[in-house]
Symmetry: D2
């Protein structure tokens, strides 16, 4: 039975809290959340202990590990604190939006040897995981190209956009990680372009809401990523891998297997609305993996270095869009 | 180059005429059609010779073979005439609605040795043919059950219903033939039931518009057929075969491969509207097969005996529905 | 927080136990299981109290409700005990294989007014539930026919077959309930036939392993059910509803949304292997519903009378197969 | 009845010849083909008149229009000859691989006012045409992005690659035309990259066999094209359009609608093998459109200018790949 300390009880923190509660081998031991009402509600419903600060909580020797779900700008501070307290860390993506801070943070973590699992949850999605496993098993032979589509159901508020680091660091970073994961070779060239097609306010906030990226690896493997901040039909999350023996596609799963055939056509469900529904199983599997890491039964599937490399690609995409140039990346 | 004589230039006759015209190895040599305007139109557009009567046309030694597309009640007469004139015969289903007339007619044909191909066009549909070929190739091992769905886009006029011989002889006969074809063993038990759910006028005409049938063979293989005279979405023609190694399904093909994903779901095309569209390729393949029969390169895939056996099952289904009893059929 | 008493900790009992443990509003308070090792294992892993007998457990006033997952032949006894102890009851299907015992049992339950929820889990499956809800909402207009396919991955052992009550009472009873549920009108005519196609030992045990049934309601609605004790590809559980405005189909959901396109075709996952995987969400929803019943927020969606009526249809099907006759059923 | 003159009776010339023969409103009047055996075979089977040269044939006043299916390097010469002879022209893509020659050629054609239809056959594919029509009808609202996948079943011989103009001009030009067609706005920015992943001999011939391109229009619409010279499963030709109201996808049609469900999954057909099968209906519709152009009932759907603009994009893509730079295109 592992005692987990939750730092940050916002939307995603509550997802993890609920998943912890449903397990027999873990307990939501403590919670730190600046919003007092949210903290109290979570403590009440789960029996978790409330701590005022992360520092205080990390002094509690009963804490076995930490789940960092605070706002992005505090991740580095929390990771470093937890590492120094020798607590294994799960941290939502990203480590930070600034590569220098990321480097400094990971250097601290490396000194301590504390395991760090970064929350690229999509690696744990049953369909994407199956696709990756089948690629690894050689079903397509040599992989030649990857295509990733990732569209959110609706655009974020402009206020969020301003502090988000931009579409590439905030949204596409998931896809850049997935591309790295599936290409099985580090991309070294990045071309990106983007547009404001969905919401002019996003443009006024200095960002784009629609973007396309091409990645290339030293051996010539190609990847394409396509992002939009708004899909009328919900959360669009698909992957296509192509290789010498054919193609593997992970399509959008649907809530039910019902098909209606009427005068207008044959209609199946639209995709799940957003990440909480689509990736429900992924979050559970992610937590299970973290517990296996705590037990020494697995190494983190997504390391701090993975987080860093995805950010390097996101930075390169941002620069490519700004300059109109192909950007070379040192792996 | 075969010279074909078309008897009857109604809807289905025109389908065959058009397919003949498109071939290099056959010519629409002559046409007999009581509707003078229709006869003239077809002769004009194809260069076919008009004959006033079948008797007159069959005297023309240039005629290589006959396509019988007249009304059902004249099939026997036309078949016998053509057989006596020693012309190979393609005849639209059925031979006749009366089993005694069928027997007499086939006896005449057999005396002459003239090839007779019955127009169970669905055997030539690419999807159903592929399913049958794969069954024959052993893909499912031993076949255990067959399920057939067959629904028309809209009900026929009550006047037609009255002379149709009833749903089982008029509509389900196609499915009974398909069941025989796929079971690869003659059914010997028939249970049928039906309802008037679509159009009360059909009930007033003494028929049903919705029906279900179960067939059983001596070795215990089972088949189910489901008919409706009306499907809001068009022509519903599907087959499912089940065996020890799994299942083969022939679904409804669609006009295009376009899928729309919007706020209401993921929508592909509805099925083709009716038999002219759905079975366009089947009619072409049927004609090609008939020409191969004429060339002595193939034996008729659908014989007069096949037509007879389907009618025996339709008669049994009609009796079963009337009596509420399971009917035993001698194969 | 409801305290639930589990009677019977076999395969299905453990499914419910696990689902209870995962909830915040219920507790696995006690367990009665004749297999001491199984009882101890469950008590250890869940903290449930062990009782030697149902009688003893039902005396415990802390017990809020009972989950009956014992063998079929003990259901009546357990239901009656629980009802007399005034404990709301969830009972796995069937009430009993003998309609007289069922009647007597339900009479006892009715006297007490204790809520009884029967475990026809498929009504809670997200796809089947969505299909039913959409029928109820009038998406198809008037329902005209229902088709149900239900095939198990592999046949049960002959020893089980002998005490099972036969395929219609043991396996098809789920489908008969589903047919009733979707037809929205009680079937009054039943025709059934069956064969031994899968395993001769099942025939030697006096049963069939493949069966087809047709049901008809007073207004003429038709239903077809198709069962096999073995599907090479796993658990085949599909429903098709047809009405004046079109068709709704609930197909087999799959573990992932991955499609492989290679030299042999385009291949998606096979269906889930068996009921534990396929109906995992259904069992959770069923428990949630039972808890809502306990809270007085819902009436049982599946009543004892539903269990009784499904058995009446199963009995009629058994008789129809034996006699080869259409059986009339009084609703 | 239009008399068509076929210039070039190679693979694609024979496709058109066969489609002409099947029509009632057109005749294959004449053929010019340097390969004497091929010319004779076609003349024999169709009754077409053989001419030794295009010049001689164009003097025949019975010729109503010309189908240019000769090798690419002769297109300009043939187009100019036909235009000067005042014969309406259908020409297989491209006009030429050299933009200067294209400009000069189109200037000549424009002087004469002779209609010129370029053979971008995919615009006539039922699925792509339906997708385009639905976009035009506003089904997605404003179009934001287009994604096109185009993969051949196997790579061409290196000898062909050397004279092909390179992948962008030879293969992707179809997709560049489709992107223009669907974006409904001229792309002005092109980024391209490519690799040799399939066949080293293609690299030795100075070309790539795998490529990705991003296009952008002035209003910010984005398009992505993905090409491979080899797909193990056949001809992969798909389009996805995304807009404010959702998504339209044109998937690969398949030969049959059969699905096999076995121990390894649910398997449908692979796509058609190559363009002759996949685009059979497109070639027929293209010819029908050309005949409508001849009748003055339609303007050419694909003009010489369309051919020119696709080449401009292909040239830009070629330059982008060579330089690693984003290329600006003047529309």
């Amino acid at each position: 039975m592992k005692n987990l300390l939750l730092l940050g009880a916002g939307r995603i923190g509550q997802v993890h809290a609920k998943n912890v509660v449903a397990r027999k081998d873990a307990r939501l031991y403590g919670v730190v959340e600046v919003n007092a009402a949210a903290a109290a509600a979570l403590a009440d419903s789960t029996g978790a202990k409330r701590f005022d600060t992360a520092d205080e909580a990390l002094l509690d020797t009963a804490v076995d590990a930490v789940l960092i779900c605070t706002s992005t700008d505090t991740h580095v501070e929390m990771i470093v604190k937890a590492a120094r307290a020798n607590k294994p860390i799960f941290c939502e993506k990203p480590v930070d939006l600034d590569i220098k801070k990321v480097d400094a943070c990971l250097a601290e973590v490396n000194k301590t040897g504390v395991p760090l699992l970064m929350g690229f949850n999509r690696r744990f999605d049953p369909s994407f995981k199956a696709l990756r496993d089948r690629l690894q098993a050689g079903e397509l032979g040599k992989v030649e190209s990857i295509k990733i589509t990732s569209r959110d159901p609706q655009p974020p508020p402009p206020a969020y956009v301003k502090v988000s680091g931009g579409l590439f660091r905030d949204m596409m970073i998931h896809d850049l990680d997935m591309a790295r994961y599936l290409l099985a070779e580090e991309p070294t060239q990045v071309f990106a372009t983007g547009s404001v097609l969905v919401d002019p306010a996003i443009g006024e906030a200095g960002d784009v809401d629609s973007a396309m990226v091409i990645l290339k690896t030293p051996s010539g493997r190609l990847a394409h990523i396509d992002n939009s901040r708004r899909a009328a039909f919900g959360y669009d999350q698909r992957v296509e891998a192509f290789g010498e023996k054919g193609m593997l596609q992970a399509n959008n799963p649907t809530p039910t297997a019902v098909v209606a055939t009427t005068t207008t056509g044959q209609k199946s469900d639209k995709p799940f609305h957003f990440f909480l529904e689509r990736y429900a199983a992924a979050y559970q599997a992610e937590l299970e993996h973290f517990l296996a890491v705590l037990d020494g039964k697995a190494a983190p599937l997504v390391t701090g270095d993975d987080g860093r490399r995805a950010l390097v690609l996101a930075d390169a995409a941002t620069e490519s869009m700004r300059t109109g140039k192909l950007i070379e990346v040192r792996p």
